[in-house]
């Protein structure tokens, strides 16, 4: 089975600066593999190991996504090889454009059975790229995937949805977006990082890919913080820990949280 993992080189949320207004500033954050994408790497590796397949990493974006550091960061996490489309034209590309470029790259890679991705990126967090990609490819696309195994001629996929979980049989080719907690991804060790430097990297030229011209561009008219999050700011008397715990449990019950 040939599996492509689509991932994003995105700001590391550990470096985020939260202003007193509640706004999150990622402009000074150092880049890293987007927070939830290593889950997709891990799912792909396990599936490939179980079926004797290959895992190809795929990322698209501006020129800064292709550095020795970014290559090693991805390749040390269970990929066999890497395909990169880095072009100044993609610097601030929106999700639709990214998805069309990913689709063209998936076609260029060829004979792909499955594309895995994280649910959403850490910075944009709109969660639309994987399913737009599926649409552009004309493949089946499923989000909220919490487990995937190989079965005769296809995949068995578990999905975590608000109403509960479902297990479905999925024919390939398909695009799956994994939940952030589907598996615990591996931490790259020294040998993984050394090995990463020896793995092949292919740089695809955007101009040579068959990508439709970008459609409409978005203009942001207004932004606002999410409503809610009202705090009751209740302080419990902590002189007796057991008493404070009992009060807390009582308050949580009353609020319907327990």
């Amino acid at each position: 089975m040939k599996i492509v993992v689509a991932y994003k080189w995105a700001p590391n949320p550990q470096d985020a600066v939260v202003a007193t207004t509640g706004e999150v500033d990622l402009s000074r954050a150092k880049p890293a593999v987007s927070e939830y994408d290593p889950v997709a790497f891990e799912l792909a590796r396990r599936l490939a190991d179980a079926t004797g397949g290959e895992v190809v990493g795929l990322t698209v974006g501006g020129p800064s996504i292709d550095t020795p550091l970014s290559r090693k960061a991805a390749l040390s996490r269970g990929l066999d090889r890497l395909v990169v489309v880095a072009d100044a034209e993609l610097e601030d590309a929106d999700g639709t454009r990214i998805a069309t470029v990913l689709a063209a790259a998936v076609r260029a890679i060829g004979d792909v059975d499955l594309v895995l991705a994280g649910d959403s990126s850490i910075d944009v967090a709109q969660g639309q790229v994987p399913l737009t990609l599926a649409g552009v490819l004309g493949w089946l696309g499923l989000a909220a995937v919490s487990a995937v195994t190989a079965a005769d001629g296809g995949l068995v996929v578990e999905r975590s949805l608000p109403g509960g979980t479902t297990v479905v049989a999925v024919p390939t080719p398909a695009v799956l977006a994994a939940t952030a907690d589907a598996v615990v991804p591996r931490v790259a060790g020294m040998k993984d990082i050394l090995g990463a430097a020896k793995k092949p990297v292919e740089v695809l030229d955007l101009a040579a890919l068959d990508v439709p011209a970008p459609g409409a561009t978005l203009a942001t008219l207004a932004t606002a913080k999410p409503a809610g999050g009202e705090r009751t700011a209740t302080i419990f008397d902590g002189s007796s820990p057991a008493g404070a715990a009992a009060q807390l449990v009582g308050a949580l019950r009353q609020a319907g949280a327990l």
């Binding site: 590391n12 550990q14 890293a32």
Partner: protein, 438 residues
């Protein structure tokens, strides 16, 4: 053990991508050695407390003209030293263009600056390995005694001919190689530091600097609530680095927390106007080794050398904290020494002692000698309270026009001195110690 397992993976393993580690790695790669640079942070600089004044002379030797290319914030052209009491301050302000050309001191933000240094190393062929914390040294019995042969991180081992411990003030590697015991508390200080963002024009107006010029303020006295140490305030391009460095033993003795002292410092009427309206974008706390030459332990053992703050290389003169330039100076000496040891095919403690010789000949140890007595000088409590009171008292009497007849300055000084708890004997002793130490 198989032959393959004992074959070194690299000529040199450098642990820690701070200034000491990145420069050592860079220079060794330039000599043609295979070098891996291991850093526990996800990216170099990520874990390092930001902000500081870099005395740039030595880095300019490694990267000529670095100030033009590296992410430096401002060139320091103005040094202000201030003695504070609860409600007054006395400052000495030295501003001079000669300080800017050639570059004497620049401010840097470590998240950017460390990343830049590590990139230079990577360009020179160093294998950069971020996100890996070294857990252990690999040691074996060699013909010349115990020899460090590599490192372990998690389940993986890497072997090299030489390991460079550049892992900073708490150097776990130097301690586990038996090169240092845990330093006594009076050789340690705790630094609390914040970065406060302000528009660049506001900074230029408040500090009376223009363009890429900047100011460095050193502050002693009431700002530390009488605890041994001092405060600093440095200008970056569009932020200020502000902090205190406190002697750990004195902090414990006063029963204060470093955060308390820091809050007092930020709110001090002499400091607050500089910071007004700024937003704190970063806050951190870190140990500083401030024992000068006394802290410089043994820097060489079989298969391993120690550089930078891991070797105790800092100078805290009370007016300036220096560590980055000494770290870089030790890196230059280490790269030379290691290169010679590898060329002579002797990486035992004897072969690597070439590093110690180069270090002794460099400005690093010479400056440590010059400031040898600074730490014990700065342990004198009077430095942090009574002198500020005395100076403020003198200037108060000079400038306060309260209707009483003016007195000659000497009389003013004598009277202020009488009110002060300081005794002449102490002042002479401190003066002498200060002259010798600084």
């Amino acid at each position: 053990m198989t032959a393959e397992a004992t074959e070194p993976d690299f000529d040199v393993i450098v642990v820690g991508a701070g200034p000491a580690g990145s420069v050592t790695a860079y220079l060794l790669a330039q000599q043609g050695h295979s070098v891996v640079l291991i850093e526990r942070g996800e990216a170099p600089g990520a874990k390092n407390l930001s902000g500081g004044v870099l005395y740039g002379r030595v880095l300019d030797e490694v990267f000529p003209g670095f100030a033009e290319e590296a992410p430096v914030e401002r060139r320091i052209t103005r040094h202000v030293t201030t003695f504070l009491t609860g409600d007054s301050s006395v400052s000495v302000d030295y501003a001079g263009r000669p300080l800017a050309e050639p570059v004497n001191a620049v401010t840097v933000l470590r998240a950017k600056f460390d990343a830049w240094l590590a990139e230079r190393a990577e360009e020179a062929g160093v294998f950069l390995m971020p996100g890996v914390r070294v857990d252990e040294l690999l040691r074996e019995e060699g013909p010349a005694g115990p020899q460090v042969v590599g490192v372990r991180a998690g389940d993986d081992e890497l072997r090299a001919r030489v390991v460079v411990a550049a892992d900073g003030v708490n150097s776990f590697l130097a301690r586990s190689a038996g090169l240092r015991s845990k330093p006594p508390e009076h050789h340690l200080a705790v630094g609390v530091k914040a970065v406060i963002s302000l528009p660049r024009t506001v900074i230029e107006d408040r500090f009376a600097v223009t363009g890429d010029e900047g100011a460095a303020h050193a502050i002693v006295g009431d700002c530390t609530l009488g605890i041994g140490g001092g405060g600093f305030l440095y200008t970056n391009t569009d932020s200020l680095s502000v902090g205190v460095v406190l002697r750990l033993d004195d902090l414990l003795k006063h029963g204060r927390t470093a955060a308390e002292v820091f809050d007092h410092y930020l709110a001090h009427p002499v400091l607050a106007p500089y910071l007004r309206g700024g937003e704190m974008v970063e806050y951190g706390s870190h140990l500083v080794a401030e024992g000068g030459l006394e802290m410089l332990g043994s820097v060489v053992t079989g298969g391993m050398v120690v550089v930078g703050e891991a070797a105790g290389l800092t100078i805290n003169s009370g007016l300036t904290v220096r560590g980055m330039d000494l770290a870089i100076g030790s890196a230059v000496a280490a790269a030379r020494g290691i290169g010679e040891a590898i060329a002579a095919d002797d990486v035992t403690a004897t072969g690597l002692s070439a590093y110690r010789r180069h270090l002794d000949d460099s400005f690093v140890v010479k400056d440590l000698r010059t400031y040898e007595r600074a730490p014990s000088f700065l342990e004198r409590d009077r430095m942090y309270g009574a002198y500020g009171e005395l100076a403020a008292g003198i200037f108060h009497d000079v400038f306060a026009m309260d209707g009483t007849p003016r007195k000659h300055l000497v009389t003013v000084a004598r009277e202020a001195f009488k009110r002060s708890p300081l005794r002449l004997r102490d002042v002479i002793s401190d003066g002498w110690a200060g002259v010798r130490a600084l």
